[in-house]
């Protein structure tokens, strides 16, 4: 049957969730068989102990399988001009070997998705994102000499994060001492190529490692051998989620609904409403959504704000309703946790303006304790993100932290 599955492309439905190129290793490590679907792949939610996995992110070195991230390659003479038109940031200014976090909007200035843009060459970029956009990317390419290819399955990637991430790479023979945040560098590896970027989703010192599926297993084995002295361990999505909340990062379809999937029109959000206005470059020339965003900026017509909250007590507040003055509903918590790193009870939330400025916010929580709910109305304060930001995340060269 296996032979048939491999040879007959029609039989994809027998395994609707694909396995990543690292699956032989992650499956062996997943002691509790704790899997979940992510973008059409089977991915580890935890390998057995989320607290220990989170601890590895902040204490030693952690490895997360990034393969399901959707990837598009953009090449051709007009690649930079195209991306300037597509995204809100200045893609021409991004130098070769650089990476930036970016978003793209529809014509009404509502966010379609966020992602990271890698400039691999003068006319060669890669977009990494959460959702799928081929029709939008192709339609946006009308009038540009540009080639767009969906290459999700052609890339195998791991995220190596933690204070000892640099030490592990050093021991693995990759010299990245002078690699600054949001820069990347290639190394020969296993007869192929390994690209290492100083990027990540934990707000800590960390790197992402990119190769082709053929070298995936070799990469895993090499990293784990080199990282043993630093307690390198695989982590699942639950541990990563805590780290990303501590870092204040948002996820499409968790912290906001992408406009092209928003069945309810009022769920769409602009960059201003997601706290992403800092990246909108109004001076670079026209881009999709620019007119609407300029109007929103001038008229101050944004309706929502995405904010960080610090909540009294230690009861985590996932999915809660936010009230002003304990009475008026003003928003929803989109992500929350007790932060083990910051020792604070934190949350990301969408709040209806102007309540993001008024203070006097409360979060309503139903805490289930042995089959009875404690109903809590907890005071919450707006606060800066990230909630946890160790200086090591930016130190160049990094030390043996």
């Amino acid at each position: 049957m296996n032979v048939m599955r491999n040879s007959d492309p029609r039989l994809h439905y027998l395994t609707p969730l694909k396995q990543t190129p690292f699956h032989p290793r992650t499956a062996a490590e997943n002691r509790l068989n704790d899997w979940g679907p992510w973008a059409g792949y089977t991915t580890a939610l935890s390998f057995g102990d989320t607290a220990m996995e989170h601890s590895a992110i902040r204490n030693g070195a952690s490895v997360y399988d990034l393969c399901p991230m959707v990837k598009y390659r953009v090449t051709g003479r007009d690649a930079a001009a195209y991306l300037d038109r597509l995204t809100v940031r200045n893609a021409s200014k991004l130098s070769v070997g650089g990476v930036h976090y970016t978003i793209w909007c529809d014509d009404a200035g509502k966010v379609i998705d966020d992602g990271t843009l890698f400039r691999l060459g003068q006319t060669d970029y890669r977009i990494c994102c959460q959702e799928r956009h081929l029709p939008w990317l192709l339609d946006s390419a009308i009038g540009f000499e540009v080639y767009i290819r969906e290459e999700t399955e052609d890339v195998a990637a791991l995220s190596l994060q933690g204070p000892c991430a640099w030490s592990v790479l050093n021991a693995a023979g990759f010299d990245v001492a002078d690699l600054k945040p949001f820069r990347m560098r290639s190394f020969p590896f296993d007869g192929g190529e390994l690209m290492i970027s100083r990027t990540g989703f934990t707000g800590d010192l960390g790197y992402e490692l990119w190769t082709t599926p053929a070298h995936a297993i070799a990469l895993w084995d090499h990293l784990f051998a080199a990282g043993a002295p630093w307690g390198i361990r695989p982590i699942g999505t639950h541990a990563l989620d805590i780290a990303r909340i501590e870092a204040g990062f948002i996820i499409t379809n968790m912290d906001f609904i992408p406009v092209d999937q928003a069945v309810r029109e009022d769920r769409a959000r602009s960059p201003f409403e997601l706290g992403l206005e800092w990246m909108v470059d109004f001076d670079k020339g026209h881009f999709t959504g620019r007119r609407a965003l300029l109007k929103e900026k001038v008229n101050k017509s944004s309706k929502w704000a995405l904010v960080g909250l610090d909540i009294d007590g230690n009861v985590s507040v996932e999915g809660s309703i936010i009230y002003h003055n304990g009475k008026t509903e003003v928003g929803t918590v989109t992500a929350a946790c007790w932060s083990p790193s910051a020792k604070r009870n934190v949350a990301l939330a969408q709040i209806r303006r102007p309540y993001h400025e008024t203070g006097n916010l409360f979060v309503e929580v139903y805490a289930l304790r042995e089959l009875q709910y404690a109903k809590l109305m907890l005071p919450a304060r707006m606060c800066e993100r990230p909630f946890f930001a160790p200086p090591r995340r930016r130190a160049t060269p990094p030390g043996p932290f």
Binding site: D8, P9, R10, L11, H12, Y13, P16, L17, K18, P37, G40, A108, E131, R132, H133, L134, P135, L138, E150, D260, Q261, A262, V263, R264, E265
Partner: protein, 538 residues
Amino acid sequence: MNYDAVIVGAGHNGLVAACYLARAGQKVCVVEKNDWIGGAAVSRELYPGFTYSNCSYVASLFRPEIMRDLELPKFGLQILPYEGGAVFMENGDYLGMHRDHDANRREFARHSKRDAEAYDRYSRDVLRHCRFIRPMLLRTAPDPSSFRPRDLSELAWLGKQMFGLSEAAMYDMIRFWTMSISDFLDEYFEHPTVKAYQAVASIIGTALGPMSPGTAYVLLHHAMGDVDGNVGAWGFARGGMGSITKALKASLEAAGGEVRAGNGIEKILIKNGRAIGVAMENGDEVHGKRVVSNMDVKRTFLKHVDEGELPGDFVKRVKAFKIRGSSGKLNIALDKAPVFTALPPNSPHMKGDMHFTDSIEKMERAYDDWKAGHYSADPFQDMMIPTMIDPTMTPPGKHFMSCFVQYAPPKVEGQDWTDADRDGFAKACLDQIEKYAPGFKNSILHVEVRTPRELEKEVGLTEGNIFQGELTFDQLLFNRPVPGCAQYRSPIKDLWICGSSTHPGGGVMGAPGRNAASEILRDLRAPTKDMSEAYAVL
């Protein structure tokens, strides 16, 4: 015996109306011309051991509010969601359908990577339109020319729905309600077979082709239903579609209602401008304080009411009501499951709807034949094998196959259908299946062939139109069936209509019957405590 209401026709809408009236304490009697009940939601055993879904064959639109109000599960109704589906392609491949999002995307990607990633936006847009229309299903359409407070408030409600949309969404809505499905799909997809599959729901039951304006709305009519909250999903009624009307009959009888089958009506009795009952074909009369017709609007007023009783303008409008027949049906008892050469062994695709029309152009060609007055030489078929899921309809290992076929004109080149026409029509369908499943014909035990001729004669649907009138925008809402007559009433006092000719239209939905009962009870100032409002669309 003088009933409170005599209902003409034991189809699903007639029975739904009867159930609600009976539960409100009304003495009701349903009269039915056939020896069996069900109208177009009917299951008969035409071959020993095989139960058919003789007309309608899938369920999605039947309102869950009605199933619950009338306790239909208690009376035996079970709706089973189905999976799968496929379009067989001329080149020997197929496009399969999957309930799983990732499997569906990969299947689309086999044919077009772009289309695979276009599906999310497409389904968002269709769902947006569904959300707009769903709250209207269980409401009486307002009369825009009336100044009665209720019509004004309903118009205001409708306006609020409309103006609750953004400007862009409003434009989309107006375009969508009037455009062709072919144009609509071109905005999302590139692959002909992907488009052909999506277009299916927009031509079914409609005497229009996929390139005709107005067909996009028909898609919505098929997408706005749900199976247990899964909007757009379809299912089978366990035991065949007749289970729906069987459960309704049992619910009606439990509420004290009566069904008299096997005797059709000759005419609706009218005295001093009021309907007072019906005269039966066998000479009996059944009297009631009101008559509620489940028959289509043409059959009701042009065949069973003296024209002299009606305003001339009304008669003219009823005559002009579009109710053109476009479809036929083959019900097939099979000795064994067919083997489709395109499908992998044990394919889940056979559990859903299967088609042989792999492009919009081919579908339009089939419609061209209809325009010329012929049945389609290369027909479009919506083929199902419910017994892939439902174990109750045939002996184990045997199968029931339901083939809905377009196009079949109400008359063949202007002449009535002959038996030879019927056989030619069936042959075109069976040959088409045989082409994709060699040997299929050898496993046929029995075929029931229904052209518009049989549908009109047996089920009573004028011209064989399955929706009791086309679902084009000019015949919807306050224009259904005719302007000024969209609130289940007629120009004749105490004569009501409750079939699919009325808002919100056809399909096994039950909403027209429920809404008609609601209006009758409102007139009677009787309580409607057993009638739920439409579930909120959050």
